[in-house]
Symmetry: C2
């Protein structure tokens, strides 16, 4: 059954596993909470999940997706934000424990690959996938090839500087795109609105119990969906920044489609509509060239798992 | 002699031709002034140049590089800034006139490809090439493949917006990178310096005959090389913007090397040094990842011709 592959998605709060067929369907699923940050505990959890998937996966190759920087060969985790991995030879450790071939992928790369193979970008060989969550991650497929860059770190779209001297970013720079168009940006602007105690922020005050720290990007997004004018404005502003950054990516890469995924991307049609409008209004050379399509991701939270499995099958089978 | 290829570089002021061997050496050269913007005149000039290259090129495929947007198959010029081409089927016309296979390439793509195959980026499969002239063009090779994008327009690096609401760009946007780090940017800042009639601008006043319109990026660059402090400051400022934009490209693409070419890029070591320093000081994730090398182009003005020939040989032979 070499045509089946196992995908594992190691997230900050849970580990998901699935036996995936060559069309991207998940045949068997498994799941457990992330077991702290200890590498050995994560390793055991992955081995247990693989066993739980049953006899269909007994000989399947394993693809593991996780947040972090993997070396381009898919062997080592150089750095992971949620987990205590630093130059961790995760591939070799897992192969020893599982007795079969393993490939590591960055989680955003895996999710983008799944959208390209089976989702919103199917049939389009030049794709940018933007994952909007608390920050902005991403991946790129050009000429049908997932591009990881020389050191495995391509696709860090959120860290394009778009406002020199602008808001401080966790990466150390100022003015990164993700400070203007992500969940964290919405939360920061929501807190700023609450702080000025205006009449416009009363729903935000209610929802947060008047606690600025309780405000999240999700909360602002939900209030916008519920019709709160102030939060709608915040979402529109974030969408405009999102579109401007998409135009920058198009200037560099000229993709045929730009897929917007991630928790925030999937939750807000208004954000996507605004972004597409802003993209079309700020694409360099507009009027003299075709526009890339801007579309929402199709595979939801399964994308990482499915993509990790498919990448492993392609690389190892 | 199929392993030889002919390269033609159609520029704004001249057309260069060469018979190029598989190692990128130019065996025979030809050249004439660009004959206005009439497509038929350009076609005749190219045919004459091909004939002039002699019997060694009698059966060689022909690669033509020109400024403009070519469709990804290398058949049609969608738009060219210097020439009166609009959806011009240049490839078919040339093939009919020459009786052999022809491939069209964007001139920046051709130059970047030459640097990758035979020049400053040889041996590095993930490359960004930035052409600094009056504006900023560029090209990208990822995984050893020249990436043209879905519609043939990838590599328009100069039109990343880096200062929302900033200086107006010829592309219609405001705040494009090339408004801060190109020859035109140097010229604009030189004019601004002249306009305030300060003591610092006396060399610029001399060199320009006190005519703001006479100031060019080249002039500012030459004065900087000659030691004029004011022009040195302008070059350093442009270099800092250059480095910031390189950091943005690295966030997206994670190349192993970034080649800086073009007239301005080749003329100013100070610009390059400043740019590399600024790049290293603003790369997102610096300290946790390797740096791409920042290097000057190696092939000079021949790059476009050599690259156009090599791309044609690879595609057609």
């Amino acid at each position: 059954m070499k045509s089946y592959a196992i995908g594992i998605d190691i997230g900050g709060t849970k580990i998901s596993a699935g036996l995936v067929d060559p069309r991207g369907n998940i045949l068997v699923r498994g799941r457990r909470p992330t077991v702290g940050t200890d590498p050995a505990a994560v390793l055991s959890a992955v081995c247990e999940l693989v066993a739980e998937l049953g006899p269909g996966g007994a000989e399947a190759v394993v693809g593991v997706g996780a947040a972090g920087w993997m070396d381009p060969s898919g062997s080592t985790v150089a750095f992971s934000p949620h987990l205590a991995w630093r130059d961790e030879p995760l591939r070799a450790n897992l192969e020893a424990a599982l007795g079969r071939d393993v490939l590591l992928s960055n989680d955003a790369d895996a999710a983008g690959w799944a959208e390209y193979r089976f989702g919103a970008a199917a049939g389009e060989d030049n794709m940018v996938c933007v994952n909007l969550g608390t920050g902005i991650g991403g991946s790129l497929v050009l000429d049908g090839v997932l591009q990881r860059g020389r050191f495995g770190m391509a696709g860090e779209f959120g860290h394009q500087v778009m406002v020199p001297g602008g808001h401080r970013c966790a990466c150390g720079n100022r003015g990164c795109w993700e400070q203007y168009a992500s969940g964290n940006a919405l939360a920061r602007e929501g807190r700023a609105l609450l702080a000025v105690h205006g009449a416009t922020s009363y729903r935000l005050r209610e929802a947060s119990g008047n606690d600025p720290h309780a405000i999240t990007g999700e909360m602002v997004g939900s209030l916008a969906v519920a019709g709160d004018e102030a939060c709608i404005e915040l979402v529109v502003e974030a969408g405009q920044w999102l579109g401007l950054g998409l135009a920058n990516l198009a200037a560099v890469l000229d993709p045929g489609v730009m897929v917007i995924g991630g928790g925030l991307g999937s939750a807000s049609p208004l954000l996507l509509e605004t972004a597409e409008q802003a993209y079309r209004g700020s694409l360099s050379g507009r009027g003299y060239r075709p526009y890339a399509r801007v579309v929402g991701a199709a595979l939801g939270p399964d994308a990482g798992l499915v993509g990790a499995a498919d990448l492993a099958r392609n690389a190892l089978d």
